[in-house]
């Protein structure tokens, strides 16, 4: 057996685990590890320009590839800078392993230079965390961390590594475990068959059924099985914001996504359904609106790998704890050869749904007339056309995020990458970098706003260093648009601090890093700019697209109302 220092063990274990990229930033407590990385060439380290970006980049990589993202930061400020990204990954159940340097063991608790109790700070936002107590534990702890991060309901795992654990002078036997077992952790591998049978009987008898699926179908790689099941039954489906792409959007059976800014037909179908078949979604408050008025006539089948998600906000009639793919496949085998009890009711349900669709057809927004400022929605539609709906799309947070979700139609899972649970401005740019690094042949589009972009714009420098060719679509409405919208609706248009008075010239800014950047003001300028932007897939291009600052995102559910209580435009409501 080989003798390795703790630092070398880390580098080796990451390679043995199959890690391609680590996103990180060095500092005192992590320097032994950085030296070990320098002396190997298997795992590539990407130097970001802020630790928050490291976590978001690893997160973007994980969401696109399905593999855990890996982060390396130093103690104290390095680790605390990573906190927002860890919380973002936690809220959206993204697999991530975060290695944090720590001051040497004998200094812990003494308020040593750059000491932070990062295990304590991150406790509520991790799936689990470890502190290394002896260098020889390192291989097993790393194995456990990857296993925990990516199994069951995925999530971030933090490993705190005091500097003396990685000292080059102390060497121990290294072997990387093939498997780990933990007596207190065994994620379920299948659902309860009796419950699944019960669910299928309800499905066959339902009159107005509706699938409602979420991020669990994406991370559980159950998208194909889901599509099969939904098509066999000819039921309508709505996917949560996190679940977009698990079922092809634009397909006749897909109603879009439900919730605060969900589609008119989704929210109405949700309100009127008599059976929700929820798979891998968690009925969060941005979906349900007022839970006491939520889906008054619906029975709820709730499939989730995490028992604590079931019956948390709304009571499930048929709870099923299990992984999405196994449960869906079992459902498929049970519906095979069976007939619906009420085919006529389903037909009537479809005509009701088609009625809702028709009501809003062509009324979603008004494209700008020549000479008027562009509408953000039409920009998203143009980008969708320019990329044939096949790009990976990362977003920041705000109106632009909602417009991207509404108007970019995804055909596949893992392509829509957004901070849904935490709603982290600044997420998009580094996430897009992480995606592009694992999918260099694909178009990676970032929809951002001038507010969000400024939270992580230092990453231009990282893109320059590694030649990361993401396409940045800055929907520049010269305001914190989503905040402004709420102020319009709830505070008599008192725009308290939602106006960005001193925006940089983004074209010059991108130019300073040597990137192509184009300002777009009019419809006529839009198509040529997009054409230029997408000509070369390896090139970062920044499009600074000025859009109408007065635009609102609609539909918008009325606070405390039911699913179907919505504002439809500035002047119409249901």
């Amino acid at each position: 057996m080989e003798l390795l220092s703790g630092a070398d063990m880390i580098a080796r274990a990451l390679h043995d685990e199959g890690v391609e990229y680590i996103y990180g930033y060095p500092g005192g407590a992590a320097l032994h590890i950085y030296d070990a990385l320098f002396r190997q060439d298997k795992v590539q380290h990407i130097l970001v320009r802020h630790e928050q970006a490291a976590t978001h980049a690893a997160d973007g990589y994980a969401r696109a590839s399905g593999k855990p993202g890996v982060v390396l930061v130093t103690s104290g400020p390095g680790a605390t800078n990573a906190v927002t990204g860890i919380a973002t990954a936690y809220m959206d159940s993204i697999p991530m392993v975060v290695l944090c340097g720590q001051v040497a063991s004998h200094l812990i608790g003494e308020d040593a230079f750059q000491e932070t109790d990062i295990v304590g700070v991150t406790r509520p936002i991790v799936k689990h965390s470890f502190s290394i107590k002896h260098p020889s534990e390192i291989p097993e702890v790393i194995k456990k961390a990857f296993y925990l991060a990516s199994s069951g309901r995925p999530g971030p795992v933090v490993i705190d590594i005091p500097k003396d654990m990685t000292a080059p002078t102390e060497r121990y036997e290294y072997s990387y475990p093939k498997k780990v077992r933990m007596r207190s952790y065994s994620p379920v591998t299948r659902g309860h068959s009796g419950q699944i049978k019960k669910a299928v009987e309800l499905m066959l008898k339902a009159r107005r059924p509706l699938f409602f699926t979420g991020g669990g179908v994406v991370s559980g790689r159950a998208s194909e099985a889901l599509t099969d099941l939904v098509r066999r039954l000819n039921f309508p489906i709505t996917t949560s914001l996190m679940g977009i792409g698990a079922y092809p959007q634009g397909d006749r059976q897909c109603l879009g996504w439900p919730g605060m800014h969900g589609s008119y037909e989704s929210n109405n179908a949700m309100h009127h359904t008599d059976l929700i078949i929820c798979i891998g979604a968690r009925f969060d408050d941005r979906v349900t609106n007022n839970t006491s008025k939520f889906c008054p006539t619906a029975k709820i089948i709730h499939v989730d790998i995490d028992p604590s998600s079931v019956s948390k906000t709304v009571r499930a009639d048929v709870p099923i704890v299990g992984p999405a793919d196994a449960v869906i496949n079992e459902m498929i085998s049970l519906v095979q050869g069976r007939e619906l009890a009420n085919p006529d009711a389903l037909e009537a349900w479809w005509s009701q749904i088609d009625g809702w669709r028709a009501e809003r057809e062509g009324k979603l927004y008004e494209p700008s007339a020549p000479g008027e400022p562009l509408k953000p929605q039409q920009v998203v539609e143009a980008v969708h056309r320019a990329t044939r709906g096949e790009a990976f799309v990362a977003t920041d947070v705000g109106q632009h995020q909602m417009f991207a979700a509404q108007y970019y139609k995804f055909q596949r899972p893992n392509r829509w990458i957004t901070s849904g649970g935490l709603g982290t401005m600044g997420f998009g740019f580094p996430a897009a970098m992480g995606i592009k690094m694992s999918y260099p042949e694909d178009d990676v589009v970032l929809f951002t706003g001038e507010g969000s972009f400024q939270m992580m714009m230092q990453e231009f420098s990282t893109c320059k260093q590694y030649g990361i060719g993401v396409k940045i679509i800055n929907l520049n409405n010269q305001s914190l648009g989503m905040v402004r919208q709420w102020q319009d609706l709830n505070y008599k248009s008192r725009h308290s601090h939602s106006y960005m008075e001193s925006l940089p010239d983004f074209v010059q800014l991108a130019g300073a890093y040597g990137f192509r950047a184009i300002k777009v003001h009019t419809v006529e300028e839009l198509e040529p700019a997009l054409e230029e932007a997408f000509r070369n897939k390896d090139e970062l291009v920044f499009l600074d697209i000025y859009v109408d600052p007065r635009e609102h995102v609609y539909p918008m559910q009325v606070p405390l109302g039911s699913m179907r209580d919505m504002l439809l435009t500035k002047t119409e409501r249901t």
Binding site: R123, H128, S184, P307, S308
Partner: protein, 163 residues
């Protein structure tokens, strides 16, 4: 309703803070908490009493079970069980009251475990209600200090909480 949840968890640094943190993070209530090692050195037993509607208790047990350090868990109040708490209490004990306090302690099967010319230290075990009743009985003479362990419990009969 009041529930007594007993947990076997890894005897690891940080495990306790994860359990306690969960309660504050999710706005669950803790009435009493009691932790100590078990006969198996790798495990600690933690007992928590909490009050909540069934829906909340269900969430509490689910979230506790989800913690990687939690190995096993039981809601003792779901079956018949024995619950005990130990209390040490210092009361003022002067003149004629000394006898009166002794008599009351006997009625409660409490023991006087330390004395000074002016006070008694009394030890009493029982369920929470009994301890409360004893404290109420001591109120007129003057309770100076109370140390309660919090509830510990175990199921009646053949049921065993172990790995």
């Amino acid at each position: 309703m009041r529930h007594i949840i007993s947990i076997l968890m890894e005897n690891e640094p940080g495990a306790l803070s994860r359990v306690v943190g969960l309660f504050s993070q999710r706005n669950f209530n803790i009435e009493t908490l009691n932790v100590a090692p078990t006969e198996d050195a790798t495990l600690s037993r933690l007992t928590v009493t909490t009050v909540g509607e069934d829906r909340v208790i269900e969430q509490i047990t689910k979230h506790l079970n989800k913690l990687v350090d939690v190995v096993k868990l039981v809601d003792l109040t779901e079956g018949s069980h024995i619950e005990r708490e130990l209390m040490l209490v210092k009361v003022k004990a002067l003149g004629a009251q000394r006898d009166e306090i002794k008599r009351t302690a006997d009625i409660f099967r409490a023991q006087i475990v330390d004395i000074t010319p002016s006070l008694y230290t009394i030890q009493i075990t029982g369920d929470g209600g009994k301890l409360d009743a004893f404290l109420a009985a001591m109120q007129p003479v003057g309770v100076l200090e109370v140390a309660r362990t919090g509830v510990s419990g175990i199921a009646r009969g053949e049921k065993v909480l172990s790995l």
